[in-house]
């Protein structure tokens, strides 16, 4: 169960993150594509909280973004719910311990988010052709987010770390250290 302190930090991360994303980050463009860090934030939350926490955070983040940006309410929340849930399931099933795992997860999350958002937008009747420009923007966003995945993961983890439930990896590391430490024999 997620503690109240974690909920507070998640809420703060959500509000500050959305404000920064909409007011600052999304105005920075790389090769014509605006930077969008929120798929990374949602995926990181999923990686740290698990599937239920990831889905909940994704839903809340998407809803807040839809409300703040006056978009069709429900679109982003639907996409981010799936992204957060998927990242959380990865934690539960594979428990990725490799240092570069956040990069792979970030790339996959960004790809899923951008493609999912595009598909939903088209389904809702936005009359825009699937052009090479759109594909290029998706590719650029995925590449940029892959490069930014590690710092974002480190930042979000730093914000939430002290209040997270016991990490199985840390548990394993501590157990193994205890066995090998000469102090344990004392």
């Amino acid at each position: 169960m997620i503690e109240g302190a974690v909920l507070g930090r998640l809420a703060g991360l959500l509000v500050v993150g959305v404000i920064l994303q909409t007011a600052v980050v999304s105005q920075v463009t790389v090769l014509g594509a605006p930077v969008d860090l929120f798929p990374l934030v949602v995926a990181t939350a999923g990686l740290l909280l698990g599937s239920i926490g990831g889905a909940a955070f994704g839903f809340a983040a998407g809803l807040f973004i839809d409300v703040a940006l006056l978009q069709a309410v429900g679109v982003t929340s639907l996409v981010y719910t799936v992204v957060g849930y998927g990242a959380g399931r990865l934690l539960e099933l594979r428990d990725p311990s490799h240092g570069l795992a956040p990069m792979a997860v970030g790339a996959a999350a960004t790809l899923a988010a951008t493609v999912g958002f595009a598909i939903l937008t088209f389904m809702l009747g936005v009359d825009a052709p699937v052009s090479l420009l759109l594909l290029r923007q998706i590719l650029v966003t995925v590449v940029v987010n892959t490069l930014l995945a590690l710092p974002v993961y480190a930042l979000v983890r730093r914000i939430l770390d002290a209040h997270l439930p016991e990490d199985p990896r840390r548990r394993r590391r501590r157990a193994s250290t205890t066995r090998l430490s000469p102090l344990s024999r004392a």
Binding site: I19, L20, T22, A23, V24, V25, Q27, V28, T29, V30, L31, G32, V35, S51, I52, A55, A56, G58, F59, G62, L63, D66, V67, A68, L70, A72, V73, G74, V75, S77, L78, T81, V82, Y85, L124
Partner: protein, 298 residues
């Protein structure tokens, strides 16, 4: 325990997805004054000042990122424009060459028409080679004996006389230009009919001398000089009368009448020949008959 966890997880996912779809349906279904739209407007009212503050506070950082992005964009834009510029320059060069060729062909037509040269069966030829000498004394044509070209036939360029054919093979020929030091031809001024011989000025490429004139005092600057049939034993004429050679550019007075040196600037641009006309059928009587001034220059 495990089943309950799985069920809870799936229910959570399904619940959030369903909630999203409900919100989506409700948002599209309601009017602009509906609950969700009002909520969005309210949120905008609250968040806008905060966003504005954040925007101002972090503007330098954003601008720095923007500068980096713009630099990358500018570099790719520059590369694209360089490629486009190169392609356009090639296109312009190609068109200028075509324009120059067209201009020369038009000039040839004008010379032919003005001097009635069609009666001599003109054969158009392209200049495919030129002696690298500064004196431009010889050119190579892409037409030869197969097209009826023979030695000593007159060659006309844009503006007037260029030279005469001196070597011929089946599909090519060489032309000795009027600026070659060996070249000489009987000539006559078109205004006063003063007869003389045109020869190149040794050591001065592009400058001709009108010499052995019988009444040099009648020649003035600006007078046009054209070929003259007849000639002499020393300088037999290979050219029918009336083909423009050039214009008197300056006259240098000497001690006597015979010392006057009359300089003629060629009418044809010898240094820039792309197309010429070879007169392939000049009757013998056209070369021997002294017909006076003949046709005028174009």
């Amino acid at each position: 325990m495990y089943d309950r966890t799985v069920r809870r997880r799936r229910l959570t996912l399904a619940g959030f997805v369903a909630l999203s779809l409900i919100l989506l349906t409700a948002w599209f279904g309601e009017s602009a004054g509906g609950l969700l739209h009002s909520l969005q407007r309210g949120a905008l009212g609250v968040l806008a000042p905060v966003q504005e503050g954040a925007n101002r506070a972090i503007a330098p950082v954003r601008d720095a990122f923007g500068w980096a992005g713009d630099t990358l964009d500018a570099k790719s834009e520059r590369d694209r424009l360089v490629r486009r510029n190169r392609a356009l320059e090639e296109e312009v060069t190609r068109q200028q060459v075509q324009l120059s060729e067209f201009s020369q062909l038009k000039g040839l037509e004008q010379v032919n028409a003005a001097n009635d040269l069609d009666r001599y069966r003109p054969e158009r030829a392209k200049v495919i080679g030129q002696s690298p000498s500064l004196f431009y004394s010889e050119i190579i044509l892409d037409r030869g004996s197969s097209e009826g070209i023979a030695v000593d036939q007159p060659v006309i360029g844009t503006g007037g006389l260029v030279g005469r054919v001196t070597n011929v093979v089946g599909n090519a020929s060489t032309v000795t230009l009027i600026t070659d030091e060996e070249f000489a031809a009987p000539a006559r001024t078109t205004r006063g009919g003063v007869a003389g011989t045109i020869r190149p000025e040794t050591g001065t490429p592009g400058d001709l001398i009108f010499e052995f004139a019988d009444k040099t005092e009648e020649v003035e600057e600006g007078d046009r000089v054209a070929t003259s049939a007849g000639g002499s034993i020393r300088f037999p004429s290979y050219f029918p009368s009336g083909i423009p050679i050039g214009k008197v550019s300056r006259i240098e007075d000497g001690a006597g009448e015979l010392d006057r040196e009359i300089h003629v600037r060629p009418a044809a641009d010898i240094s820039n020949l792309r197309y010429v006309t070879v007169l392939t059928s000049v009757p013998r009587d056209a070369l021997t008959a002294a017909t006076g001034t003949g046709g005028g220059a174009p």
